[in-house]
């Protein structure tokens, strides 16, 4: 198709739409019907709304970056990196909205230097491990039944994962390798206390969990 034929074909179509009042013409008619004084206000009003929309979107997207009391920041005051810490019981409020029927332990990780090895012992009841980035994005979770008995896994940054030799991945079939999208983040280990009075026993069992930088 030549350029000229394309031009010829579109021109009549353009004329026919100009006959019937389109949405633009109708809007213009409404605009004309508004008295002159409020018409002066319409443009600033539209501008305010568009700008407010932009401000809203930018501030929502920036929130995880700018937040002052995110989970990662709260836990930074509690524990050094790559060390597992048992959290006090829910209600004493380090993290909001935690299930009071669970005993939780956290480990703030930093993969800049070395990968992390996480080991969670069997507690005899539901036990799970969840991973979050430093901005609070949940990226991986596993429970005791899905993992077998003891949860044992390696957490690697994307660069460390890429550097992992191919054959090693195949031979270590029983080794779980998790890739973290960020270099820092949080490991949350939670064990279910079926009744209130087994809580201390579950707490003791969870103390055996570990989170260490590999050598």
């Amino acid at each position: 198709m030549t350029f000229a034929s394309l031009f010829r074909r579109t021109r009549p179509a353009y004329r026919s739409t100009a006959r019937a009042p389109g949405p633009v013409e109708r809007l213009a008619a409404i605009f004309q019907a508004v008295p002159a004084a409020p018409r002066l206000l319409l443009l600033p009003l539209a501008m305010v709304l568009v700008l407010a929309g932009i401000v809203h979107l930018v501030s929502v997207l920036a929130m995880p970056r700018l937040a002052q009391a995110s989970a990662y920041q709260r836990l930074a005051a509690l524990a050094p990196s790559n060390r597992l810490v048992l959290l006090p019981d829910a209600g004493e409020g380090v993290l909001p909205m935690t299930d009071p029927a669970f005993v939780s332990a956290v480990c703030r990780y930093d993969l800049r230097e070395r990968p992390l090895k996480v080991r969670v012992p069997q507690t005899g009841d539901y036990t799970s491990i969840s991973f979050y980035t430093n901005r609070g994005l949940a990226f991986y979770a596993l429970n005791d039944q899905a993992a077998g008995r003891v949860i044992e896994l390696d957490l690697l940054s994307p660069a460390q994962r890429a550097a992992l030799p191919e054959d090693e991945e195949i031979t270590a079939a029983d080794r779980l390798v998790v890739e973290s999208p960020s270099t820092t983040g949080i490991v949350l280990i939670r064990a279910f206390a079926r009744y209130g009075d087994v809580r201390d026993a579950v707490r003791k069992q969870l103390e055996a969990a570990s989170c260490t930088a590999t050598q």
């Binding site: 700008l51 401000v55 809203h56 995110s70 209600g91 999208p181």
Partner: protein, 191 residues
Amino acid sequence: MRLLTLATTLAAAAAIGLGATYFAVTHSRGMDIVRLGAWQGWPRSGTTQADPYAAAAFARTGELPLELADGLLFLADHDTAGAPLDGRCDIRILGALPQSRLWTLTLTDDKGALVPNAAERHGFTSAELVYEPDGSINVSLSPRARAGNWLPTGARGRLRVALRLYDAPFSFASGAQDEGQLPRIVTERCP
């Protein structure tokens, strides 16, 4: 004069935009809301597909959302009829629960803090509860002691109930959400 108009426009835009953001992060836990009777769930908030509103809300509160591979959280701050849950009333949670490895039911105030009480009873786990003969649950929320599965409300104004289903083979993919899947919440009597 023109500069003044520009300044007013910018100030108004900033105020409206930030106001909308504040409202969103204090009232929402994400866009992917699933309503089952009185309960609300956000299945994608605990996954890598969490939307910006969920991420913003959790960043502000410091909450680590329950991962979907771990469990599923449902919240209720209204009864099935639509009235807000009032701690001065007698409230009952009745009905069958979906299949799961275990579940917990937790009573909090409207800000998510546990309701303090002498018995230190803040909820039930699937192991503690006394079930009805047909396997359904019947939990009573009341400021005064009740026979059976009773949770003290401490006569607090507004309440929120959190139901967490762990290791549940639950799917939202079909979009067919049956109101009978989660228990009903009934306000029986108010002083």
